[in-house]
Amino acid sequence: METNDSDSSVAQQKIRPDEQAALCPACRRFIGPLDTCPYCECPAEKPVGLKLLRRIAILLAVVGLCLVYAASISRDVHAMPIGDIKPVFNSARVRISGFAAENTHVRQKYGKTNLVSFLIYDGTNFITAMAFGNCAEMIAKQDCTPEKGDKMAVVGRLSLKAGKPPRIVIERPGDITIAGRENNVP
């Protein structure tokens, strides 16, 4: 076998003091975040804070997510008078109760209902309730569109834009509840 070694000098890397935890405690080779040295198979000495953080991460993620889920499903949707709506409530999920101030408007495109809207009055102010797309189609098909005077409640997300009247966006047909008719609508 022929040999042909040549003289060499390989770049020396400067090690910062804080990089010590990234070196194998036995052979001092760089192992980074690995738990075992791939060269001498010595277990790495990781900072206690880091090991703790790993365990905390999993615990927090799983338990925290469950608690957030539990907190959200245990809350009732906040009932809000229309007159109390302020711009800071934009995108809030609320329940509005009142009377249908007019018959439902339905808009269709290519033979499919793509918009359902109606005006609600609760004694304090008016708000337009709207549903789009598949939700509008289902509302129209299930015939849960209110007529003028119907007592009703809707759950949805407030959509508040400057210069436009307030709106509430309905996301499921089941979020509309119609109780009965009522004649004292201005």
């Binding site: 076998m1 022929e2 040999t3 042909n4 070694d5 040549s6 003289d7 060499s8 000098s9 390989v10 770049a11 020396q12 890397q13 400067k14 990089e19 990234a22 001092r28 080779r29 760089f30 980074g32 791939p38 060269y39 290519y110 598949n134």
Partner: protein
């Protein structure tokens, strides 16, 4: 090609079928998503599954603190010689050398077919982008050469560079007519990139959904294989009826910026054109040639001119500064 390029090419293959676009506009994105996913699937199968199960006979783990080109050269030569003497495949895995969180010791293995030898040379320390680290003191490292006992043939390039993340696996395969064939990462672009496997997936898609889904799957899969065939390594199109990869056309390298970007941008324009043509209610329907020239060629020309201008200024600066220093 990079992953995004393959993904977009697969998506484009699906988008060129008008029915896919109409379905997407009506709320069914299945065909387009299948196109993207199956456009990327061949590499996913290789890099995320197959390579972890691919067994080797020899593993080379260079010491990061004691560069030993002799050890590596001897190991590679031993693998070739053993394959030749025993008549069986020998697989050797070359490990990378990590020097820091973002520092890797590069080394190269060069096969000299005529002289029947292998040379290993240590190179500079590089970062994860493959660029020499700015604080590298020297660029020349130790080197060593080992002789081979037999003739060899190569299925890829004569020189292999080992630097970042996972090192390559070389398979030494004895051939009936004598030379040992050296195959570079044999687990890549073999069965996973074949049209036969694509056809199997297509049939499964057709059975699970409908013939359009099957067609989209096969087309996206085939486009991936075709795109890879443009490179140097090639692809095994007809596994298991054919063994080994067919050499590529050598038109581009998978990591080159311009081929990747040009492909991605062209695909985006083609997708947009198809959406405009096949979505009901759109009035804006540009012609394909006009779109490619206006949104593709012209911006690229502007960019290239600006790039050229920058390069010219850079060269001028390099010429002027030495003259100034000399004065």
């Amino acid at each position: 090609m990079k992953g995004l390029t393959h993904f977009i090419v697969g998506l484009t293959a699906a988008a060129m079928i008008p029915e896919s676009v109409r379905a997407a506009a009506s709320g069914n994105p299945l065909y387009l998503l299948l196109g993207g996913i199956f456009g990327l699937l061949p590499d996913t199968l290789d890099f995320k599954f197959y390579r972890f199960f691919y067994r080797h006979d020899i593993e080379v783990m260079p010491d990061p603190d004691k560069p030993d080109a002799r050890m590596i050269a001897d190991a590679v030569a031993h693998a070739v010689n053993k394959a030749w003497s025993t008549g069986s495949c020998v697989k050797i895995k070359l490990g990378t050398v990590r020097k820091g969180a973002d520092l890797w010791q590069r080394y190269s293995i060069r096969f000299d077919v005529r002289e029947k030898r292998v040379t290993v040379a240590y190179g500079p320390i590089v970062d994860t982008g493959g660029n020499p680290a700015t604080d590298a003191v020297a660029t020349k490292g130790p080197s060593a050469t080992a002789a081979l006992a037999c003739d060899i043939t190569l299925d890829y390039e004569a020189e292999t560079t080992v630097d970042i993340f996972d090192g390559p696996l070389l398979r030494m395969t004895p051939t009936p007519d004598g030379p040992v064939r050296i195959e570079f990462i044999p687990w890549h672009r073999d069965w996973s990139h074949s049209l036969t496997v694509g056809a199997v997936f297509g049939l499964a898609g057709a059975a699970l959904w409908n013939p359009l889904a099957g067609t989209v799957i096969f087309l996206a899969y085939a486009m991936h294989a075709l795109a890879d065939q443009m490179g140097f390594m090639g692809v095994n199109f007809f596994y298991p009826f054919r063994r080994g990869r067919r050499p590529g056309f050598g038109l581009m390298r998978s990591t080159e910026a311009w081929p990747n970007f040009a492909t991605v941008w062209l695909c985006c324009l083609l997708i947009f054109w198809s959406l405009a043509q096949n979505t009901a209610g759109t009035e804006f329907r540009p012609g394909l040639v006009r779109l490619i020239i206006g949104a593709g060629v012209m911006p690229v020309v502007v960019f290239l001119l600006a790039d050229r201008l920058m390069r010219g200024k850079q060269n001028l600066k390099r010429t002027v500064e030495p003259q100034r220093n000399a004065e």
